[in-house]
Symmetry: C2
Subunit: 294 residues, 2 copies
């Protein structure tokens, strides 16, 4: 995508009023008119500015990409819900406001939980789903930032802003840290019209949502069997934030899911292996099969 | 591949004398002269006739495919080794006899264990590795045919020959059984020059090799960390013969491996999802990167 094309780095922030809320979003790409838009649902505390152009620009080359700030995030009004269900309600209202009946979704981390809840609430909302670095309801060890392996970075006063992401989204290996440095550089390419950074209140509400998402009643993972959409599950094998076994459960209990895991990678596997990920995701989304394998 | 092209169904069986043994093999394909040959290492009791044309014919469209009967299997002389290490020694001798210093490998089930042992014994032997439905040394629940979930088919006098494969390589779902029926039909396409079918002595020796492969000394899976080759690990999520957790361990402990899992699929995931598998495997093999992600 050339520098003059509207892209992750240059797409203007737009606003959509629905009910009592005003939602911030960016929408770009879409050369193939027959492709459905791809709704991108973001990670813990992430804003529109946390999408990596190396992932979302290639995806936008053949379909519209819609980046979305849920309620209380970035430029969106409202309170950050303390449940994933509350976030799903906002995202569905946003799609209704845009007049989108069906789309594809890329749900990353927290966004992957929101995507699962959305499709359970309204099964026709998604055609194909991509779930990266996320967990099913009833999953384990979801975003326990108090763990020593994460707290040592989050509580390090020498690390601020994106430098923290480089540590917690990537593994300690030299190759992964180098990929993390490049990732941060790409996030900084956008110089104008940036979102406000999330503060502690956002983090606190979202952590409450993770704790609620770890709870389940009845047969564990039974809700996944209701999701018939072809689903592409992706995880790094060394993910400290949401360990890969959560993706194993997704692929084992979703009836129509393919799992891909990446080596030498943590929570940010899609950013570290962006060339591979965007190619695999594009091939998955380009399939018209009712089955996930592509 | 047209009916007149030499293919999985029509390639003549050839023989290679090395030391005291005569090894049976078939070799075909290879339009791309710069591609390395792909050595295919077969499953428990499988012969040259157990390779699915829907998998090996597309792979042969751009590279030479070499199907190999290890010692004591099909048309190969010698005793079936009671260890994976013994099988690896034969396979290395066969490649030496062909004058092949380096190739790619597709190791399926038992063949995946032989491939791992070969690359530990001689690290330069493989450029890229594909391991399907297999397990690392020290893996669990490897080919326990006495389990009720398998014994009910293996001990059913109403099931003979390939009908057993349809039951144990595929899941009980209607879609998987239908794929299994098609798989069996493809194996029967070859009408001439077929291998002798393996008997109980082959099975007994190979089961002994599985039991030995389950043993380990020292740190579990530490040997995997010596394997630097880009590796593509594939498994069905409902594999009763070698459960998918063995592939999780491969992808977690091999330093340079991508894992792909297939839904609604058992041990024969590569045959059930042959269109997807051959495409993914071809893209993986076509990569020149030193990293597994493709």
């Amino acid at each position: 995508m050339s520098a003059t094309t509207v892209s992750t780095t240059t797409a203007p922030t737009r606003f959509l009023d629905v009910g009592n809320e005003r939602y911030a979003y960016r929408r770009f790409g879409g050369q193939n008119a027959s492709a459905l838009p791809l709704l991108c649902l973001q990670h813990f505390t992430g804003t529109l500015d946390n999408w990596d152009p190396a992932v979302t620009d290639p995806l936008a080359s053949t379909r519209e990409v819609i980046l979305f700030d849920n309620a209380g995030i970035g430029g969106s009004t409202g309170a950050v819900p303390q449940t994933v269900a509350g976030m799903a309600t906002h995202a569905l209202a946003f799609l209704d406001g845009l007049g989108i009946d069906t789309c594809d979704v890329l749900g990353y981390s927290l966004g992957g939980m929101v995507a699962q809840q959305m499709v359970l609430d309204r099964p026709a909302i998604f055609r194909r789903m991509i779930l990266v670095g996320t967990a099913p309801r009833g999953g384990e060890d979801i975003m326990h930032l108090e763990k020593p392996s994460l707290a040592r970075y989050l509580n390090d006063p020498g690390l601020q802003g994106y430098a923290v992401l480089q540590k917690i989204f990537f593994t300690p290996s030299a190759s992964s840290q180098s990929a993390g440095e490049e990732f941060v550089g790409r996030l900084l390419l956008r110089t104008g019209d940036r979102d406000p950074v999330s503060g502690p209140a956002v983090a606190s509400a979202q952590i409450a949502a993770f704790r609620e998402w770890e709870q389940f009643t009845g047969a564990r993972f039974a809700d996944l069997q209701q999701i018939r959409q072809p689903t592409f599950v992706v995880n790094g094998v060394y993910d400290e934030m949401i360990p890969v076994r959560n993706s194993y459960w997704l692929a084992e209990y979703l009836p129509n899911a393919v799992l891909l895991t990446y080596p030498d990678a943590g929570h940010g596997s899609l950013f570290q292996w962006h060339d591979s990920f965007q190619g695999q995701a594009s091939r998955f989304l380009s399939s018209d099969s009712r089955f996930a394998p592509y």
